[in-house]
């Protein structure tokens, strides 16, 4: 087995003597590549963004992630590009040139991260110049405290296609680096599910990480240190998508990958993605990790509850399937047993015809919900025949709004029914007062969700 290393800006860099909790940002900065910065250490500001060559079918894509959250060891064998690798002061990359000449940097601290996020979108195959071509969501996970963003937006819109022969564009034509089996003290990347499960059996206290967007925060902000880490993000058995009669989504697919794979297949999820975290986080976070972490808020969990999702849990004893509604056992607790992994998420067919996702938060994008409400209805001959409503932010776990569903099911789909259901929905859960919202506001938002949906029809 070759010595663990990361190829950074084209040059192999050994990963030696690395504590498991050392994140990629500290690793890169330790190499003297200080362009990537720590702004928040929790994946909220994007100052640490770097590009990783990730698989895109048989090709690869420069994919920006928050370096502060990824354990350096988890990038063993991969290719990383930093702002220094995009260009240098005498040879600016087109993204860097546009940012520079348009006043896109003031203090400059967030700028290398912006350059990386913008470069990823710059290299998106098929992207076009101008406001309709450059998806600003691509840089929604980067915060700038100085510019007010307008010059950064204009820099993004000014970007034409990469010139022919651009080495970074050409790199995307060939595959991403193969998965490397990593085994060092305290850290392992198994290459298949069987190996992962046997590692988990050997190390019952192991921390399972995929994108590490949650564990990275625990490690950085709260000093959590894992006894043993098993990285499952590249397990092939956890990375498949089947969109037949039942939709099955591999647990180790990132949210971005799920978004791409599903397209418009599941309209409710298509509504969720743009409101769910940032592109930087969605490039790291996996669908399985998002559920296993059992946040009481989540944004995906309420939607998957409304879709009646089930989870396939794998262990050395074989698979078992549990409904998502029965998966959350309490605050940050699930029914996962020691040695068990989420292998896939299943969505039963047919999908409900009417769906909506309502996220209530302080900031318009990339904010943790005060309340999240997802609803899926089947309406036949003007009557609701089936109602599923998932709620986040109003109890110790994401919950189904069973009482509200009961009011809706069998009732005519009318404003009177919406009013009756809204009165019940407002009483669901046990909302609390916290820094995000008051309990009264949370209840009011529950009460208004169906009304707003009705008004929009």
């Amino acid at each position: 087995m070759p010595e663990p290393h990361i190829t950074v800006n084209g040059r192999p860099r050994p990963l030696v003597g690395m504590p498991v909790h050392t994140n990629a940002l500290d690793f890169l900065r330790g190499l003297g590549l200080t362009g990537a910065k720590e702004g928040c250490a929790e994946g909220e500001c994007g100052a640490c963004a770097v590009l990783v060559a990730r698989p895109d079918g048989a090709r690869s894509r420069w994919t920006p992630v928050n370096a502060c959250l990824v354990p350096a060891l988890a990038l063993d064998g991969q290719e990383v590009l930093t702002a220094e690798g995009l260009g240098d002061p005498d040879h600016l990359h087109p993204v860097q040139a546009e940012l520079a000449v348009r006043g896109g940097s003031q203090c400059g601290y967030c700028t290398p991260g912006f350059a990386c996020s913008m470069a990823a979108e710059y290299y998106r195959p098929g992207r076009e110049r101008g406001p309709d071509g450059f998806d600003l969501h691509a840089i929604g996970g980067n915060l700038c405290r100085c510019t007010g963003y307008r010059p950064i937006r204009d820099a993004a819109w000014a970007l034409g296609p990469p010139p022919s022969g651009d080495p970074l564009a050409e790199r995307q034509v060939s595959p991403a680096p193969a998965v490397v089996p990593t085994r060092v003290d305290g850290f392992a990347r198994p290459t298949d599910l069987a190996e992962a499960l046997s590692l988990l059996a050997e190390h019952p206290d192991a921390t399972v990480v995929a994108g590490a967007t949650d564990w990275g925060v625990e490690a950085n902000l709260r000093g959590s240190r894992a006894a043993y880490v098993v990285a499952v993000d590249r397990l092939p058995e956890l990375r498949e998508v089947t969109t037949g009669n039942t939709i099955e989504i591999g647990a180790a697919l990132t949210l971005s990958e799920v978004e791409t794979a599903l397209g418009d297949t599941v309209p409710l999820l298509a509504q969720v993605w743009p409101q769910f975290a940032s592109r930087l986080i969605r490039n790291g976070a996996t669908i399985g990790g998002n559920l296993a972490t059992a946040s009481p808020i989540g944004d995906l969990a309420p939607a998957l509850l409304a879709l009646d999702a089930t989870l396939v849990l794998a262990s050395a004893d074989g698979d078992r399937e549990v409904p998502l509604a029965g998966f959350f056992a309490g605050y940050r607790e699930t029914v996962l047993r020691p040695g068990e992994l989420i292998r896939a998420v299943r969505l039963p067919a047919p999908l409900a015809a009417h769906t909506t996702f309502r996220k209530i938060a302080k900031r318009r994008s990339d904010d943790i919900s005060s309340v999240a409400i997802a609803a899926a209805l089947d309406v036949v001959d003007g009557s609701v025949v089936r109602a599923r409503i998932g709620l986040g932010g109003i109890a110790a776990t994401p919950v189904r709004a069973y009482a509200t569903e009961a009011v809706l099911e069998g009732a005519p789909w009318t404003s009177e029914t919406v009013e009756a259901a809204s009165a019940v929905l407002a009483q669901e859960g046990t909302p609390i007062d916290d820094q995000r919202a008051s309990a009264a506001y949370r209840s009011a938002m529950l009460g208004n969700a169906l009304r707003a949906w009705w008004a929009e029809r």
Binding site: C40, L92, Q96, P112, A115, R145, G148, R153, I360, A437
Partner: protein
């Protein structure tokens, strides 16, 4: 036109150039203080031991368990301080406190071979506390009469007479939250001791000289033993004006005691829980209007939340009182200011420095009263504008009020305000659950430090034998483009291409006794000093040329061989300003910066969520030194102001539970800054034309702070939209920040048309009156300036 403001043809100032470090920024090559750690050998890392209590006596510190942690090198405590255990300019901030004053207050610091070792060491230090009662909320402090510092009164005329003669008198309370700076680069210092025993501190500081002074004070050294350098900051916004000193002192103390470089960089959580923020304010007020809506009198008591120590709270309060008038003539005024002492971080400078808080009071008053007066808020505002010949309540004549009118008219025209308001009315009539609102608000902001002595600056300009030029000045670069402007000033004055001029980082051993890079004044001050230095050199070169047409390089070479000095120290002091802080009168500002913004928002009645559809701004920067830089300051300041007013929501635990006094929004995940999603759909910014400012460097005006207050237009537009959910004439009280939740509750009140929390008629709610026992005199640090001041104008 003055010599200082006259601009030559083909000037390099006035060109729209990118930031001088732009190519370094975008490639990650620009170095910030903490990046230097990678280039320094043997660095130790510092980690604080923070108080979990908002107020407590430290009864025991046992550092032995920390020293037992592998990699821990030393624990710094009060016993280690060779000089004075104090990091506050007011001498009220013990660096290693016996009584902790807020949750997060550092009791001691652990030095480790790695940050991890220092962190584990800090966890191992045993500290016993005897908890003491704590005041957390500003209103608790007001009830408990917990104040600190002087209580200035700013008055003119006879408020009772003004209110008595008014057709309408309203009274109410306006509260506003503070704001976290959230510069992307947290506080950082790297200190080392060189071979001569000189302490060299690299610090992310807006005020290197004061950092130098505090480091010397703590170490018991003279200032010439300490050098402070600031390469650049990853944002400052006022948060690095006074707050870096203690951290620099800890690093310097560690370096002197261990003989090794010490790095202190705060994590975001530490930065948010340990360092000061914009002051939240509470204001009680009574206001009178005549039957045409003209202001007749204003009486108000403003209480700022100073946190645990004075810091810059007194000057912030003074600036707040000096800006309550904003752009409006108010004949009779009495304003009382107080600084509350609470058990929170020591609130400090933040872009605008109290000006925004003072102006918010009058804008809130006008926004709430307009519907009750039955006067369109756009008209109510413009009909109260200052006119030529009128003076502010503190006695300074308002120069160029016609520029504000010009900007106002330009915005009304270019933003099609009248037409769009009709369109909005039609939209609102057609939409039950979504309402739009539009508002126009003005900014008048005084430029110069109130504290007269700070209005000076120095520069050092070197011309080398090959004709290349290196400049150094007393200001620091935090992204605002000061260095870009200084390069342009030097190139313009010397008449050479920009490429011949380079700028060296700010260092206290190059230019001493610098003022903070603050008060928007740094281009005015340092620009004056750079220009002075360049002119000294130019005068000598002109003598050498003696009328001959020589190229720059030839001239320089000839001057060298003629033994002519090719470098110069420049100096500048702002003329014509004075301020008496004991009576709050004088002519503290060189001039006023003006701006106008129109904003349109759309509010969702189901949630209170909103978006900013369009913003139009005309802002006065004089004759711009650097238009791209200035545009960036206007836009960036505006969005930062929007953040303060609508989104950024500092919350402290005010309960009686175990978390009392804790900042509950102490991370980027709980404290949200404007992101891309908050950028208005359409943002049009124009710089006011024909705006030459006489007596200022190359006719320019300051730009750093004033645009922040353009964001009032967004808050007032939200008020307008919320009002549309209620019957005509609904007065809307809106919390600040106007978060979606706050907007939602305001719409609910508007719908039910519940009365606004305004009292009409006399006596109404009478603001707290001055406390005769309160200390009225102002800081001793200003007393020299008071003696030197001329008789205030307008008295």
């Amino acid at each position: 036109m003055s010599h200082l403001s006259r601009r030559p043809d083909d000037a390099v100032v006035g060109l729209a150039l990118p930031h001088e470090s732009a190519a370094l920024h975008v490639t990650g090559h620009a170095l910030y203080t903490d990046d230097l750690v990678q280039r320094t050998l043997g660095v130790l890392h510092a980690h604080p031991v923070c108080s979990p209590h908002p107020h407590a006596r430290v009864t025991r510190i046992d550092t032995a368990p920390a020293l037992a942690v592998a990699g821990v090198v030393r624990v710094l405590t009060a016993d280690d301080v060779p000089g004075t255990n104090d990091s506050g300019v007011k001498h009220d901030e013990p660096l290693f406190p016996e009584i902790v004053m807020f949750v997060g207050h550092a009791v001691c610091w652990v030095l480790g071979e790695t940050l991890e070792a220092a962190r584990l060491g800090a966890e191992a230090v045993e500290v016993d506390y005897e908890p003491l009662p704590a005041i957390v909320a500003l209103t608790e402090a007001i009830d408990a009469e917990s104040f600190q510092g002087g209580q200035p009164v700013l008055s003119r005329g006879d408020v009772e007479q003004g209110l008595g003669g008014a057709t309408h008198v309203f009274s109410g309370v306006t509260e506003m939250a503070g704001q976290e700076h959230f510069y992307l680069e947290t506080h950082a210092s790297l200190a080392l001791v060189d071979e001569g025993g000189q302490v060299f501190v690299q610090s992310s500081t807006q005020h290197p000289t004061e950092t130098q002074e505090i480091v010397a004070h703590v170490l018991g050294l003279d200032s010439h033993h300490v050098t402070v350098q600031c390469l650049r900051m990853g944002g400052g916004f006022g948060g690095k004006e006074m707050q870096p000193h203690g951290f620099a002192a800890v690093a310097a103390l560690g370096a002197t005691l261990t003989g090794r470089p010490v790095r202190l960089r705060l994590s975001r959580t530490h930065d948010m829980t340990m360092t000061g923020k914009r002051h939240g304010f509470h204001a009680q007020w009574r206001v009178g209007f005549d039957d045409e809506g003209r202001l007749t009198a204003l009486e108000a008591t403003l209480t700022s939340d100073g946190g645990w120590s004075l810091d810059l709270s007194e000057p912030v309060l003074a600036r707040a009182l000096c800006h309550v008038d904003n752009a409006y003539w108010i004949p009779h005024v009495r304003l009382l200011g107080r600084v509350a002492r609470t058990h929170k971080t020591s609130q400090t400078a933040f872009r605008g420095f109290g000006g925004p808080q003072g102006m918010l009071v009058i804008e809130d008053i006008l926004g709430r009263c307009a519907p009750l007066l039955g006067i369109d808020p756009v008209e109510l505002r413009s009909s109260n504008f200052y006119v030529e010949g009128q003076a502010t309540p503190y006695g300074q004549g308002v120069r160029h009020p016609e520029r504000l009118v010009a900007a106002w008219d330009q915005v009304l025209r270019s933003a099609r305000v009248a037409g769009r308001r009709e369109e909005i009315a039609a939209f609102n009539a057609a939409h039950e659950h979504t309402k739009r609102g539009l508002a126009v608000t003005p900014v008048k902001f005084g430029i110069s430090f109130n504290f007269t002595a700070f209005n000076q600056a120095g520069a050092l300009v070197h011309v080398y034998k090959d004709g290349s030029v290196l400049i150094n000045h007393g200001g620091t670069e935090m992204g605002q483009g000061l260095h870009t402007k200084m390069l342009q000033v030097a190139a313009t004055t010397l008449g050479i291409p920009l490429e011949r001029v380079r700028l060296a980082p700010t260092r206290t051993d190059k230019v001493p006794n610098t003022s903070a890079t603050a008060a928007s004044s740094s281009a005015d001050l340092n620009g004056g000093a750079v220009k002075d230095a360049c002119e000294q050199i130019l005068t000598r070169l002109t003598d050498v040329a003696a009328g001959r047409e020589l190229s720059w390089d030839e001239l320089v070479r000839e001057a060298y061989f003629s033994r002519v000095q090719l470098w110069a120290a420049g100096f500048y002091r702002t003329e014509g300003i004075h301020w008496d802080s004991t009576v709050m009168r004088g002519h503290p500002f060189k001039y006023f910066a003006y701006g106008v913004a129109a904003a349109e928002v759309e509010v969702d009645g189901f949630t209170g969520a909103y978006r900013t559809r369009r913003v139009d701004i005309v802002h006065d920067v004089g004759d711009s030194l650097s238009p791209l830089v200035d545009l960036g300051q206007v836009e960036g300041g505006f969005v930062q102001g929007m953040g303060w007013l609508t989104l950024e929501d500092l919350r402290w635990d005010e309960s009686d539970g175990p978390g009392r006094g804790r900042l509950t929004t102490q991370s980027a995940s709980t404290y949200k800054l404007p992101a891309f999603s908050e950028l208005p759909d359409e943002l049009n910014v124009a710089l006011l034309e024909r705006a030459h400012e006489d007596g200022v460097v190359y006719g320019s005006k300051a730009v750093g702070e004033p645009p922040l207050m353009l964001a009032f237009a967004v808050r007032e537009a939200l008020r307008d939209a919320v009002g549309a959910f209620g019957p005509d004439g609904t007065s809307v009280a809106l919390a600040s920040p106007a978060t979606p939740e706050a907007v939602f509750w305001a719409t609910e009140r508007a719908r039910s048309a519940s009365p606004a929390s305004l009292v009409e008629g006399l006596p109404g709610l009478v603001p707290d009156q001055p406390d005769p026992t309160a200390p009225r005199l102002h800081p001793t640090s200003e007393q020299v300036a008071e003696q030197a001041a001329d008789t205030p104008a307008g008295t």
